[in-house]
C-alpha cells in the first residue's frame, strides 16, 4: 500500500522500503523542501544518511549517526492485513494459468515441467481448511477488519508470521483473538512494541502452546507482563533479544517445558536463579550467552539442589565454560538426563574423548551427552578411568585405601565431588594401578648392580649399571674384559636382598638379566 494517503497513527509503524525494514519516527514537513516527508529509522544502522537531524534541526532521534533517512510516503510500503497476505499466498489470483497442468517455467534454456500444481492450488484456495500456514516475509502489518480472519481461516493451528511488519503486541492480540485453535505462533524478527496497558482478552491464546519471539526486541519484563495471557504455554523461544532476566515469574509461565534464551549476551549466572523454580521446566537452552559458570549454593557437595527441579536437558553450547567446577555443579541437579556442551573452551582441543569420559563420570545420572546416548559400558569405563586418573592426586590430598585413614582435603573433594562415591562403588584404587608407567628410556631400563668376585682372596666389589635386556653372554664378555679372565671360564649367579641366602645361577648365556628376574640393587656373583 504505497500512496499519499497515510494511515492514522503512522509514528511507530513498521514499514518496508525497497526491501529494507524501518520504523517511522517522524511525519511532517522538512523545510525548505516542499511536501510531506516521513522520517524513518532503519533496522540496518548504516543504511541511512543522518541521525534524524537536518541542517541543524532535530526532527527525530536515531540510535546511530547514519540510522535515519527522510523518504516520501509514496515510496513506503505500510504492509497489508493478514487476510490479504493469506489470500495472496494461498490462492493464485491473476497468475492462474488457463492450461492447468503444464506451467511454463524456464530454467536457463530448459523447460520445467510441473506436476500437481493445479490440484494444490485448488486445495489451498479452500482457505478455511488451512491449519498450518506460513506468512513469513509477506509484509503483514495488521489484523485487518474485525472478524475477517475468523471468517477466512478459523481453523489455523500453526502460523509463521516471522519477518513481517507488525509493530505492536496489540496487533498480535487482534490476530490471535480470531484464531481460536492457535497452538503455534512465530513472530520472529518483528520489532514489536509492548504497550504497558496491553490487555489480553480472556480466551485469546487459550490454546497457545509454542511461541517464538526471536529477535523481536522483547524485554523480560514484557514477557512476564504478556505471559498472563498464555495459560498453557509449553515452549517459549526468546533468542537474540538482549534479554536480562530481571524478575522471577510468579504466576506465569508455570506450564512452560522448554525455554530458549540463546544468544542473549546480557544473561548472567545470577539471573538464572530467578527462573530456577519454574515447576515444569524440562529443557533449558542457554547457547551462546557467554556463560562461564553455574552454581547451586543451596546444596553442599554431593547433595541435590532444589533449583530447576524438572530440568532434564540442558544445552550450553558455544559458551565460555572453561572450568570443571561447572560440570561438578550439574551433578547437583535432580532430574538432569541430557547435556549438550560443545564448543566451550573446556571441551575444545585434542582431548575430546577424554573430556567426554570425565563429564560422564562427574555427572552420575547423565544418559545422553552431546546427543549421543551413554551406554552402561561407556559409563562403567568412564568411571573406572576417572578413579584411576585422579588416584595419585587423591592420595597426595590425603586419600587412603584404609577407610580410617582416608581423609582427602576439602579442596580435593570440591574438585572431585564424586570421587569418594566411585571408590565405594569400585573399591579404592590400588597402588599398582596408580603407578605411572615409566616412559621407555634406556636409563629407566638400567639396573644398578653390585658385582662381587668371590673366587679370590680379595673380595672385590664393583657397582655397574646394566640394561635388563643384556644377555648373560654379554655380561660375561664385559666382565671378561674387566677381570682379564676368558669368557668360557666365567660362572655367574646372583643374589638378591629380597631373598637372603639364596643364590640363583645364570646358566643360559642366551637369556637376559630380565629373564632371571634380576632387579635393581641385586648382586652378581662371579666365579672362575
Amino acid at each position: 500500500m504505497m500512496s499519499d494517503i497515510l494511515p492514522l497513527a503512522v509514528i511507530g509503524r513498521r514499514v518496508e522500503v525497497s526491501g529494507e525494514c524501518a520504523t517511522v519516527r517522524f511525519c511532517g514537513g522538512v523545510p525548505p523542501v516542499a511536501g510531506l516527508w516521513l522520517g524513518v529509522e532503519w533496522d540496518n544502522p548504516e543504511r541511512g544518511k543522518h541521525d534524524g537531524s537536518h541542517e541543524g534541526t532535530v526532527y527525530f532521534k536515531c540510535r546511530h549517526p547514519t540510522g535515519g533517512s527522510f523518504v516520501r510516503p509514496n515510496k513506503v510500503n505500510f504492509g497489508v492485513d493478514f487476510v490479504t497476505a493469506l489470500k495472496k499466498r494461498y490462492a493464485l489470483e491473476e497468475e492462474a494459468d488457463e492450461d492447468g497442468k503444464a506451467c511454463s517455467l524456464k530454467v536457463g534454456c530448459k523447460q520445467v515441467q510441473t506436476v500437481g500444481f493445479e490440484h494444490i492450488t485448488k486445495k489451498q484456495s479452500q482457505l478455511r481448511a488451512l491449519k498450518d500456514i506460513s506468512l513469513s516475509k509477506c509484509a503483514v502489518s495488521c489484523a485487518g477488519e474485525k472478524g475477517g480472519i475468523a471468517e477466512a481461516c478459523p481453523n489455523i493451528r500453526v502460523v509463521d508470521l516471522s519477518k513481517n511488519l507488525l509493530s505492536s503486541w496489540d496487533e498480535v492480540i487482534l490476530i490471535a483473538d480470531e484464531l481460536r485453535d492457535l497452538e503455534t505462533l512465530s513472530l520472529s524478527e518483528n520489532k514489536l512494541q509492548f504497550p504497558l496497558d496491553s490487555l489480553t482478552p480472556p480466551g485469546t491464546f487459550s490454546t497457545l502452546k509454542i511461541l517464538v519471539l526471536d529477535k523481536t526486541g522483547i524485554t523480560w519484563a514484557e514477557v512476564l507482563h504478556c505471559a498472563s495471557g498464555w495459560p498453557v504455554l509449553e515452549e517459549l523461544y526468546l533468542r537474540s533479544n538482549s534479554i536480562s532476566i530481571s524478575e522471577r515469574p510468579t504466576d506465569v509461565l508455570q506450564m512452560v517445558r522448554l525455554l530458549d534464551l540463546s544468544s542473549n549476551p546480557s544473561i548472567a549466572e545470577n539471573q538464572l536463579y530467578l527462573i530456577a523454580y519454574l515447576p515444569r521446566l524440562e529443557q533449558l537452552i542457554l547457547s551462546d550467552v557467554g556463560l562461564s559458570s553455574m552454581h547451586f549454593p543451596d546444596a553442599k557437595t554431593g547433595c541435590k539442589t532444589s533449583m530447576f527441579p524438572s530440568l532434564q536437558y540442558l544445552i550450553v553450547n558455544d559458551n565460555r565454560i572453561s572450568d570443571w567446577s561447572f560440570i561438578n555443579e550439574l551433578d547437583k541437579l535432580q532430574s538432569l538426563q541430557a547435556l549438550s556442551c560443545s564448543r566451550n573452551p573446556l571441551t575444545e582441543g585434542d582431548k575430546a574423548e577424554t573430556t567426554r569420559q570425565i563429564i560422564i563420570a562427574k555427572i552420575s545420572q547423565l544418559k545422553t551427552l552431546n546427543r549421543c546416548q551413554i551406554l552402561p559400558e561407556e559409563r562403567y569405563g568412564a568411571e573406572l578411568d576417572y578413579r584411576k586418573t585422579f588416584g595419585n592426586e587423591w592420595k597426595a590430598a590425603g586419600g587412603h585405601q584404609d577407610p580410617d585413614k582416608n581423609r582427602p582435603s576439602a579442596e580435593f573433594l570440591a574438585a572431585h565431588p564424586r570421587y569418594q562415591l566411585l571408590c565405594r562403588k569400585y573399591g579404592a584404587p590400588e597402588d599398582e594401578e596408580l603407578e605411572v608407567p615409566q616412559p621407555f628410556m634406556l636409563k629407566n631400563q638400567l639396573l644398578t648392580l653390585k658385582i662381587k668376585y668371590s673366587n679370590q682372596l680379595e673380595q672385590k666389589e664393583l657397582e655397574k649399571q646394566l640394561p635388563d635386556s643384556m644377555t648373560v653372554q654379554k655380561v660375561k664378555g664385559l666382565l671378561s674384559r674387566l677381570l682379564k679372565v676368558p669368557v668360557s671360564e666365567l660362572l655367574l649367579s646372583y643374589e638378591s636382598p629380597k631373598m637372603p641366602g639364596r643364590e640363583i645361577e645364570l646358566e643360559n648365556d642366551l637369556q637376559s638379566l630380565q629373564f632371571y628376574s634380576v632387579e635393581n640393587g641385586d648382586c652378581l656373583l662371579v666365579r672362575w
Binding site: 499466498r89 530454467v107 520445467v112 510441473t114 494444490i120 506460513s134 513469513s136 526471536d214 546427543r371
Partner: protein, 443 residues
C-alpha cells in the same frame, strides 16, 4: 489404486526399513499394534478427516479387523537383525510371515548370498512375496532396500531381482541402496560385492537411488550436532528421505503421476539409472524454530554439497535430470520464485541433449519427525533426486579398489569355494568399466 511392495534385504535393508515404517506409522497415525488412533478413526468415519489418509492403501493393507499391515517383506540370511524387529516396538505391526530369516549368514560374501546360502531360501522368499502380491489389487512395483557391500545385500538381492524380473516382468523395480563409503568401510571385500552386484542387478533394476554412510555421518555430526552418530541416527535420517520420496504415493495428491513417472523422467538410458539423493532442510532439534526457511532457501540448499546423501561433487559433472519433491507448506508461486533464482546459477550445468531439465512435484502433507529424535520439526521440506554424470567418480573409486585387490587375487578364494568362477569377476569388472564409459558418453 496402485500398490507398492517394499522388500528389505540384509542388515542395512532391514534396519532402514525399521526406521522408515516407524515414521510412516507416525505420519498415518497408525499405532504400533497396527490400528489407527481412535480420534482419527472417528474422523475418518465421520468424513471430517481430510481424504489424504485414505490413499495409504498403496503401502498398507487393511485387514478385516481394521488393522493396517505394511506391504513389506523383511529378510536376512541370519536371525539377529530380524529378531530385533520381532521383539521391538513394532513387532505386532507385521505378520510373522513377513519376517524371513535363514540360519547361516552370508559372511560379507556375495557368493554365499547369491549361490550357496541364498539359493536355499529364495523359494521361500518368492513364495512370501507372491502372497503379498496377491493382497494387492494392482501391484505397481517393488521397492528394494539393501546395501552394496554386505553379503546378503549384494548377493541375495541380485538373485532375487533376477527372479522377480522373470515372475513379475512388467512391474517396476526401484532400489534404494547403501553405497560403500569412500573413506569408511565396514568390510574389506566391499568393492568385490559392490561390483558383482551392480553387474548382476543393473538390467533388472529400473532406478537405483543411492545413499552412502559417510555423507550421512557427516550430516549427523555437523548439522545435527551428534558427537558420535550411530546407525540409529543415520537410519532415521534415511527414513526422512524415503518419506519424502514416497509421500506422493501415500497421501492423496497427484497420485498416478507419482514416483513411477519421476523415475521415467530421471533415467535417460536403461543403464544410467543411479540418481543421488539430497534432503533439505536438515536442522538439529536443538535449533527448532530458529530458522524460517522459505522454499527458495531449501531449494538452494539442495544444490549444496553438504546436504547430499552421497559423497560426490556434482560440480564436476553435468545434470541429466533433476526431480524436486516438495512437501508441506509449499505454494506453486514459491516454487516458481525458487526455480527462477536457481536459473542464474552457473554451477547447475545440464547436458545439452536433455530438453526437460527439472521435474517438480508438491505434496501438501507436512514432514513429521520422530518425537525425541535429532531433527527439528519443519513446515516444509524437499527431496531432490538428481541424475548427474558426476557419480562416475563414485564408480571409478569403487573400480579402483576392486582392481587393487583383484590384481593380487586377494580374498578371491572365499568366493571360489562357494562356487563362483574368476571369470565372473572379470565380466563384472568389464561391465562396470562399460558403465563408466556410458556416463562419459552421455556427459
Amino acid at each position: 489404486m496402485l500398490q507398492c511392495l517394499s522388500i528389505h534385504i540384509g542388515q542395512a535393508g532391514v534396519q532402514i526399513g525399521d526406521a522408515s515404517w516407524e515414521l510412516y506409522c507416525l505420519e498415518h497415525g497408525i499405532q504400533p499394534d497396527g490400528f489407527i488412533l481412535d480420534r482419527q478413526q472417528e474422523q475418518l468415519e465421520n468424513g471430517e478427516m481430510e481424504p489424504r489418509n485414505a490413499s495409504f492403501d498403496t503401502f498398507f493393507h487393511e485387514t478385516r479387523t481394521g488393522k493396517y499391515v505394511p506391504r513389506a517383506l523383511f529378510m536376512d540370511l541370519e536371525p539377529t537383525v530380524i529378531d530385533r524387529i520381532r521383539v521391538g516396538k513394532y513387532h505386532s505391526l507385521f505378520h510373522p510371515e513377513q519376517l524371513v530369516n535363514g540360519k547361516e549368514d552370508a559372511s560379507n560374501n556375495y557368493a554365499r548370498g547369491h549361490y550357496s546360502v541364498g539359493s536355499e531360501i529364495i523359494e521361500l522368499v518368492l513364495e512370501r512375496i507372491q502372497k503379498l502380491a496377491e493382497q494387492c489389487n494392482e501391484l505397481q512395483g517393488f521397492l528394494v532396500f539393501r546395501s552394496f557391500g554386505g553379503g546378503t545385500g549384494s548377493g541375495f538381492t541380485s538373485l532375487l531381482m533376477e527372479q522377480l524380473s522373470a515372475e513379475y516382468c512388467r512391474k517396476t523395480k526401484l532400489e534404494f541402496s547403501v553405497y560403500p563409503s569412500p573413506r569408511i568401510s565396514t568390510a574389506v571385500v566391499e568393492p568385490y560385492n559392490a561390483v558383482l552386484t551392480t553387474h548382476s542387478t543393473i538390467e533388472h533394476s529400473d532406478c537405483t537411488f543411492m545413499v552412502d554412510n559417510e555423507a550421512l555421518y557427516n550430516i549427523c555430526h555437523r548439522k545435527l550436532g551428534i558427537e558420535c552418530p550411530t546407525y540409529a541416527s543415520i537410519n532415521r535420517l534415511t527414513a526422512q528421505v524415503l518419506s519424502c520420496l514416497t509421500a506422493s504415493l501415500r497421501f492423496e495428491g497427484p497420485l498416478n503421476v507419482g514416483l513411477i513417472e519421476f523415475q521415467t523422467n530421471l533415467v535417460p538410458y536403461p543403464r544410467v539409472h543411479f540418481p543421488i539423493t539430497t534432503l533439505a532442510p536438515i536442522i538439529s532439534a536443538d535449533k527448532a524454530y530458529h530458522e524460517h526457511l522459505s522454499v527458495p532457501d531449501i531449494t538452494a540448499a539442495c544444490f549444496e554439497f553438504s546436504n547430499q546423501l552421497v559423497r560426490c561433487d556434482p560440480r564436476l559433472g553435468k545434470y541429466m535430470a533433476c526431480c524436486l519433491l516438495y512437501r508441506g507448506d509449499v505454494v506453486p508461486k514459491d516454487v516458481n520464485v525458487a526455480i527462477a533464482s536457481m536459473k542464474s546459477r552457473t554451477s547447475v550445468q545440464f547436458v545439452d541433449w536433455c530438453p526437460t531439465g527439472f521435474k517438480v512435484g508438491i505434496n501438501h502433507q507436512p514432514p513429521m519427525v520422530m518425537p525425541g529424535g535429532d531433527l527439528a520439526p519443519v513446515q516444509r521440506a524437499v527431496c531432490m533426486l538428481s541424475n548427474t554424470t558426476a557419480i562416475v567418480e563414485a564408480w571409478a573409486r569403487l573400480d579402483h579398489k576392486f582392481d587393487l585387490m583383484f590384481a593380487k587375487k586377494a580374498f578371491l578364494h572365499w568366493y571360489i569355494t562357494e562356487g563362483m568362477e574368476q571369470g565372473e569377476f572379470t565380466e563384472a569388472r568389464e561391465d562396470l568399466a562399460a558403465l563408466e564409459k556410458d556416463y562419459e558418453e552421455v556427459g
